[in-house]
């Protein structure tokens, strides 16, 4: 779905054709700009996750970047500038712009991207801060952001905790894969990886496991130590389900650190654009016989906010692994 058409329909007069392909600058500014974030199909249920991503390397138009910068709060702008170097600063800025524009889409265009305020839970996980004076509506939106150097993704879920992690498939670790796994993963996961003789394949499986575990920890929102990686196993089962289970002999019931490692979590793992693995994790409190058999619904859009949105799930760009 290309929403660029929405911009062209405005105004009765056709635009004069430019001498060369027009740069992707918006023809509108300020408040009208905000209105050009089309509402996506709504999140159907708590089991549905929407992911919006952008590629910083493709966004180099200065007026576009200035427009995104304008959406940030003063403290967000300050934090972005504190990053080391122009590239990291741009990524930090785009990350906030992506978050704000994405959230705005899910409020029936009622909340301007600039209006959102955020707070951190006691472990540092960011959340939306809704005004408690009753002046604005609230939406039960949960979000999580993940960065790689070439892609920033924002996952959205309704009424449920969400974590997302994206990683380049070919990301090379400085440390040896098995030593990393031995230090941080569970014994069963180490065994799984150790059995893979081809080093490229092993590295890919490591990255898959890493993104799954990261997505879970981020959904939980208790920080890395709230759910140490070696206390839970993510098993990529042959029937394409991901099971999360407590590592045997590591948790005893009296260990309060394991209280949160419950098994009410649903995962999706997908290949994205053939270059990335993306893992999404949501809490799923629905119990019953169908627990685990209904897959998490995943929709993915690539976005250039205010300019173009492209639904990529359902195409080759998104290949579900589970």
């Amino acid at each position: 779905m290309h929403h660029r058409l929405l911009l062209r329909r405005r105004g009765a007069m056709p635009l004069p054709s430019p001498p060369q392909p027009a740069p992707r600058t918006p023809g509108v500014a300020g408040g009208r700009l905000f209105a050009s974030l089309p509402s996506p199909p709504p999140l159907q249920s708590r089991r549905e996750v929407h992911v919006w991503y952008l590629c910083p390397d493709e966004l180099n138009d200065h007026s576009q970047l200035d427009m995104y910068k304008e959406l940030l709060s003063p403290s967000e702008r300050k934090n972005a500038l504190a990053m080391n170097g122009p590239r990291l600063q741009k990524d930090a800025m785009l990350s906030r712009a992506l978050l704000r524009t994405t959230l705005s889409r899910y409020t029936d265009a009622k909340i301007d991207p600039r209006s959102f305020e955020f707070k951190k839970n006691k472990f540092g996980k960011p959340e939306i801060l809704w005004q408690s004076d009753g002046s604005s509506m609230e939406w039960p939106l949960h979000f999580n952001i993940s960065h790689t150097s070439s892609l920033i993704a924002c996952g959205i879920a309704m009424d449920t905790l969400i974590g997302i992690d994206v990683e380049e498939k070919k990301r090379k670790t400085v440390k040896n894969i098995l030593s990393l796994a031995r230090r941080y993963f569970t014994p069963s996961e180490v065994d799984y990886l150790a059995k893979i003789s081809d080093s490229d394949a092993q590295q890919k499986e490591f990255i898959k496991l890493w993104t799954l575990k990261e997505a879970y920890v981020k959904a939980l929102g208790r920080g890395f130590s709230g759910a140490p990686f070696n206390r839970f196993s993510n098993q990529l089962e042959t029937n394409n389900r991901i099971q999360i289970s407590k590592a045997a002999k590591v948790c005893n019931d009296s260990d309060s650190g394991c209280d949160y490692l419950s098994e009410n979590w649903r995962f999706a793992l997908a290949g994205l654009n053939s270059s990335y693995y993306m893992a999404v994790c949501i809490e799923d409190n629905s119990r019953g016989s169908e627990n685990g058999s209904v897959p998490l619904g995943l929709k993915v859009w690539k976005t250039i906010p205010f300019i173009e949105d492209t639904l990529v799930s359902g195409t080759d760009a998104v290949k579900l692994i589970t």
């Binding site: 400085v174 230090r183 890395f224 130590s225």
Partner: protein, 130 residues
Amino acid sequence: MAAIAGSVVSFARPVKAVNVSPVPFAGLRKDNVAFRLHPVSQKFAVLCAAKKETVDKVCDIVRKQLVLPEGTEVSGASKFTDLGADSLDTVEIVMGLEEAFKITVEESSAQSIGTVEDAAELIDKLVEAK
């Protein structure tokens, strides 16, 4: 680091003073202190809490892990996230530190490391405790 006019303040162990109340520290002679210590919201180190060699070694490991361009400034105050370290970088850095200093860093301690200085302080503490 705050400059304390006209005197050197020494403590039994390095400490970092945060939100100091206007009460002189034990061991401090009143006439040595040129000013009253008022509660302030910013942190200041009365003495460097981490050893310089530790900070330097941490900077070195961080540079190697993050493949930072030549001339990138990395110092005690550098925040890992500001340098572009993501979670996988961070665990690799922690592992690198464990190997270099022959220590084990618990996840709960690792979580509170925000800057190079934080890491260096933790390392010094763990090394001393060995």
